[in-house]
């Protein structure tokens, strides 16, 4: 009656289990310099312009690192915004014997187990952009609270401590959005004349920002300024234009369309004073060099703060020239710059400014 022949499957599995017990070859020992080391990048998602630019900057930094003999090899693995998939990939990289693994994480918590596992295997783990909270990992972190404060201070000073401000926020529930918002609110608390009259979630996307701002505009009094989070400045402008409202002071991000808009507005009568604040995709190159420095035995703090990319009117032309249409502005950070950054973090002194681009990267 029972014609199952399943046990055969189990014989195979048992044979596999036996094969697993054979001892494997062990890897060679490392050298004092990092010239023979490999640094791998595990990226959680590659499906937007910022991440594409981030991957390009990694590629440039790693190729340069190989050319000057700082490291021997690199490798990039992308997961499909899935934490278990990325965790498996990090396990694979651990197994392959990479000396350092740099991670843009799919979840702040879900990778902590494999990160700990990699650390236990004496692998240097550096997280950046979308961080993971595992204590053993080095964190290359932006201070997003400060980003909100700088925006709010600029707006308040420019408006002379008097006016109505609209806030365009990022994706709800993310720590980046919470931090920027917190910075804006606590900085505006110092200026009693400034009033936050409305807030929408633009999700760092021009089309969504335009739709959301257009939706709230009819309910608002005159708006004097808009604080943003980047990727939403151009859409915000379009919403004001379509509604026939005067263009307020809009804080810009680092997308090409935002910088081009700024340039266009600045060419008009009376100019257009604003600033651009953002996290630069080139932070991957900082993470690369931080990993290399840790491998080289340099004293690196567990959290390395990086400066925001701030573009002022004087440098607008240089930045605009360096970014292709539809692209995202970013510097490529070098080894020397990263060494200065680490020293500034250790000494609690002012962080070095982002280098201004000299050509198309």
């Amino acid at each position: 009656m029972r014609r199952t022949i399943r046990p055969q499957g189990w014989i195979v599995v048992a044979a596999l289990a036996a094969a697993l017990l054979l001892p494997g070859a062990r890897a060679e020992a490392g050298a004092a310099s990092t010239a023979s080391d490999g640094i791998a990048l595990s990226n959680s998602y590659a499906g937007n312009g910022w991440r594409q630019q981030m991957l390009k900057m990694w590629d440039l930094a790693a190729k340069h690192g190989i050319a000057i003999g700082a490291i021997a090899k690199t490798k990039v693995v992308n997961s499909d915004n899935s934490a278990p998939q990325q965790a498996t990939q990090i396990s694979d990289l651990t197994l392959q014997g990479w000396k350092a693994i740099v991670i843009d994480a799919a979840s702040p918590t879900a990778l902590n187990g494999v990160i700990q596992q990699a650390c236990s295997a004496h692998i240097v783990v550096v997280v950046f952009d979308s961080l993971a909270t595992a204590p053993c990992a080095y964190k290359v972190a932006y201070n997003y609270v400060q980003m909100g404060e700088i925006e709010a201070d600029y707006v308040a000073k420019h408006l002379g401590d008097k006016g109505n401000v609209l806030e365009v926020r990022g994706i709800a529930g993310t720590s980046v959005d919470n931090d920027i918002h917190q910075g804006i609110v606590q900085a505006f608390a110092k200026y009693p004349g400034i009033k936050l009259v409305g807030s929408v979630h633009g999700n760092w996307t021009q089309s969504i920002a335009q739709k959301e701002v257009a939706g709230i505009l009819p309910t608002l009094p005159k708006v004097d300024a808009v604080v943003t989070q980047g990727g939403d400045g151009y859409g915000t402008f379009q919403a004001f234009k379509t509604a026939g409202r005067p263009t307020p002071l809009i804080i810009m991000g680092n997308r090409q369309d935002e910088l081009a808009l700024w340039k266009q507005l600045a060419g008009g009568p009376g100019g257009y004073p604003t600033i651009s604040l953002s996290s630069a995709p080139g932070v991957s190159s900082i993470a690369f060099w931080v990993a290399q420095q840790v491998l080289a035995g340099v004293n690196v703090p567990k959290t390395v703060h990086v400066p925001l990319l701030i573009i002022r009117a004087n440098d607008l032309d240089a930045w605009l020239k360096a970014v292709p249409p539809g692209g995202v502005s970013t510097p490529l950070y070098g080894q020397k710059w990263t060494e200065d950054l680490i020293a500034a973090n250790l000494g609690h002194s002012a962080l070095p400014e982002s280098p201004i681009p000299t050509g198309v990267p």
């Binding site: 399943r6 599995v13 094969a19 494997g24 499909d80 918590t109 879900a110 596992q117």
Partner: protein
Amino acid sequence: MLAEIRLPSASPRVLLPAAALVAMLVLIFAMEPRAMSYFGLTLLLNFALPAVFAAMAQMAVIAAGDIDLGLGPFISLVNCLAATWLTTRPVAGIVALALLVAAYAAIGALIHLRRLPSIVVTLGASFVWLGLALLVLPTPGGGAPAWLTTLLAVRPPGVPLPVLISILVGLIGWLLLMRTSYGTVLRGIGGNPRAVARAGWSLLGGRVALYTAAGILGVLAGLALTGLNTAGDATVGTEYTLVSIAAVIVGGGEFVGGIVSPAGAVIGAWIMLLTGSLLSFLDISTDWQLSVQGGILILVLGLRALEERPAA
């Protein structure tokens, strides 16, 4: 009377994926000899644990001729509960997990009594699970109970933990579903429900039993994931819905007729997991991983169709 129920002839169904798995492992060991150690295999197969439990849960539902589209978010919910309540208020956590299993049993009963399509009910349930997970843990965080992380860090002598548990789970599933008479009845619910009913068995009871098993296995998948991740995240399990279905099918199961194989489901879960590692060791871009996983699925179904034609 029970003999009327057509039993699936399983041998080529399981041998094909087993051969594929052996080929994959041989390739992986050839490319990366370090994988062929106790430590290497543990690393390589750690995430087999949630995948194997998820595949077995999905198999229980598919055995009833149904399909579970809510399994991934269910695993996320268990992950969130385990990383919060189970750690801080163990009693409340255990009660909550027991209620989740009861909810699965209720879904099985609902589908049977109201003759609802399982695909719609479980899709609806998936949003309930996601919503509850976000309520329990709005932003990723929490921490796994210490006993759970310790349990998953156990290094049994000889055989790595994920290998050992995979084999045990498959073996228990095989014994229960293929070697007991009630197991035959359960598979008959998806295969020939009329014969099962005529033989005097309760179809409702059978479906509830299968869904309860799915609920328990789903909870185990969520707990395993929590122990590995050491924290909670409300969206972490999403991919397990499709991975578990693929594992059951690759492992010799079929969407209709109660044709499933516990050993096959375990092997299928390993295959889906190791595809990515193999591509990585072959230095093929990870961007290809999803396409290759889909390609394997189509290839397996195609080969099976070829194989079955002369036999039929």
